[in-house]
Symmetry: C2
Subunit: 343 residues, 2 copies
């Protein structure tokens, strides 16, 4: 799956900003790819980018319209069909993160076929993968792991990619969730893969690479989440990370959607190392990323200082304070073969 | 999915006994359900049960024809189509463990529809599950786990069910693989479920039950297998077992399909307890099941005695020596509420 930017962001008639959070995540990280938004009457979200019609978007060079909408049930609204078919007729591909296939609607299917365009259903995969082999691949890999779902694993991975690239390091974000796929134009929503192929799909997502190349793999779930730990473990084994960063949200009391308490950062480090050794005996933590938005700045700094001291690792809030300290640690632990270090 | 016995076992024209191993497993454990076999010219397998035509099987009361065949690619052979449609026309349902849907062939699809019969594709599931919740359910559960794939987890679970029932215990085998589904007439091939729903599917397979009821859940893979550990962990969390049995094959040097060495029994016990605590804090091992077929009887007994002493658990080969010792341990650790103990 290779989704071609630039994008027209289709928001439909969503009732609030949260329903457009996939689209907002794409704009946060790939502003240059997002030439405009298309909002239907009644739309209550605004990405802060130009409003474009389908014709205007096509004229500006948009290659794909992204259905960046989260709705209950993941279904296609009847009110969206005309815009989607118009985009296909104007020469754009259409990509969606809904649970239903775009092609399940005959009008969309026909318009795509008649105009030779592609439909991308990021949440529904037909792609066949091999089962994972667990064989060590060349290249370096970092995985973001978490004490829970939705604690900043994608954001941390993207922040690492950006900072590493600024330093001249050869780093690629590797998406494993729908928003990440739209942000990078490739990848697989790993939670939609058939269970037997989780680790195999991740081996495909983060393939063999040059010895100095870093794949920054977006984590999913938590080894301690009773709904999703299987996905997390398959992802860990497939990614065979050399390094990992633990992501955490310190004010959350129960894991998302269930009654279980969050594990400690130390518990996550221990179990990640214990399980990760299977496909990479040298696996090690290189940092802690904390979402401190619920804390005042002084409290946030105190929390991070304590976490850093307790675990002997750089600890930061990627949004508030950046990830330079974690990248410093990566560069120290994994010096480049040439010995040079970018300024 | 509820597959109705009795069965006609369809072997097609398989080239050897191994290609009929699903069918052989069903006959091993449900001889009474298997009224006969149907073999096409050239078939090199024999289940040792009567050869029946479709008409004879229907007359004897067979309700389902099982396509009990493993072939490369999991495809439908053209030579099987006429027999499958004849079975549907004779009033039987047809169930298959192939990777392709029976209904992918238009002739089969049409015959099922025209005759009001059901097609069961055990390896391809459309069933929607909830995500796992990890909430403790009433009833007792045992899970068979392993140092590797194919070390006797299904066989051990079925042997436990049989011995427990002989003692008057209320026990049900819960299938998580295709052969197990045919043996029990229900269940889900868990490796075919979408990754997000592994633990949720197992919560559905082994639902809330009476306090003295045992679900004996068939394990899959190994927490130490780099291809399938995600499935194993989701299964462990969904089953939330009170007790587990570790299955092992002592002469195997590498895990199936990969280069990794087998973990020790002790490593499997430790990691199973550590991860299983998440959904059942009281999880504990109650036995070790070793496939000793490669060992002489004296060597087998010595191996089992050593394993029992090392881990403080009953150790047996279920085929050679039965599972009475493990059931003794279960009865001692989980006394029935009434206090009575069957003879």
């Amino acid at each position: 799956m290779q989704i071609n930017p630039p994008y027209l962001m289709f928001l439909g008639d969503v009732p609030d900003a949260l329903a457009a959070k996939t689209a907002a995540g794409i704009v946060d990280w790939r502003r240059d790819w997002c030439l405009g938004q298309l909002r239907l009457p009644g739309c209550q979200a605004d990405l802060g980018i130009p409003d474009l019609t389908v014709a205007e978007a096509a004229a500006k060079g948009c290659r794909t319209m992204i259905v960046g909408i989260v709705n209950a049930g993941g279904l296609l609204n009847e009110s969206w069909i005309a815009t989607i078919t118009a985009a296909l007729e104007a020469g754009m591909d259409v990509a969606s993160g809904l649970h239903i296939r775009l092609g399940a609607d005959e009008r969309i299917k026909h318009a795509a076929f008649a105009n030779g365009r592609q439909l991308f259903d990021v949440r529904v995969t037909d792609q066949r993968f091999d089962t994972g082999k667990g064989t060590k691949r060349p290249g370096l890999r970092l995985l973001t792991v978490g004490t829970d779902c939705s604690v900043g694993k994608k954001y941390t991975a993207l922040a690492l990619e950006r900072t590493m690239r600024e330093r001249g390091l050869d780093a690629d974000f590797r998406a494993t969730g729908q928003t990440g796929v739209f942000i990078s134009g490739r990848g697989v929503a790993i939670d939609a893969v058939v269970a037997d192929f989780i680790s195999g799909a991740v081996e495909w997502i983060a393939p063999a690479a040059a010895p100095d190349h870093w794949d920054i793999v977006e984590g999913q779930g938590s080894l301690f989440h009773p709904s999703f730990a299987g996905v997390t473990l398959g992802l860990l084994h497939g990614a065979q990370p050399d390094a990992f960063v633990v992501c955490h949200e310190p004010t959350r009391r129960a894991m998302r959607g269930v009654a279980h308490p969050l594990p400690s950062i130390g518990e996550v480090i221990d179990l990640t190392v214990r399980c990760g050794r299977l496909t990479n005996p040298a696996i090690r933590p290189v940092g802690i990323a904390v979402n401190t938005q619920q804390l005042a700045e002084a409290d946030a700094q105190a929390y991070l200082a304590e976490a850093a001291a307790e675990h002997g690792l750089p600890a930061t809030d990627p949004i508030r304070f950046g990830v330079a300290g974690i990248v410093d640690r990566m560069e120290a632990e994994f010096p480049r073969a040439t010995g040079e270090r970018a300024a």
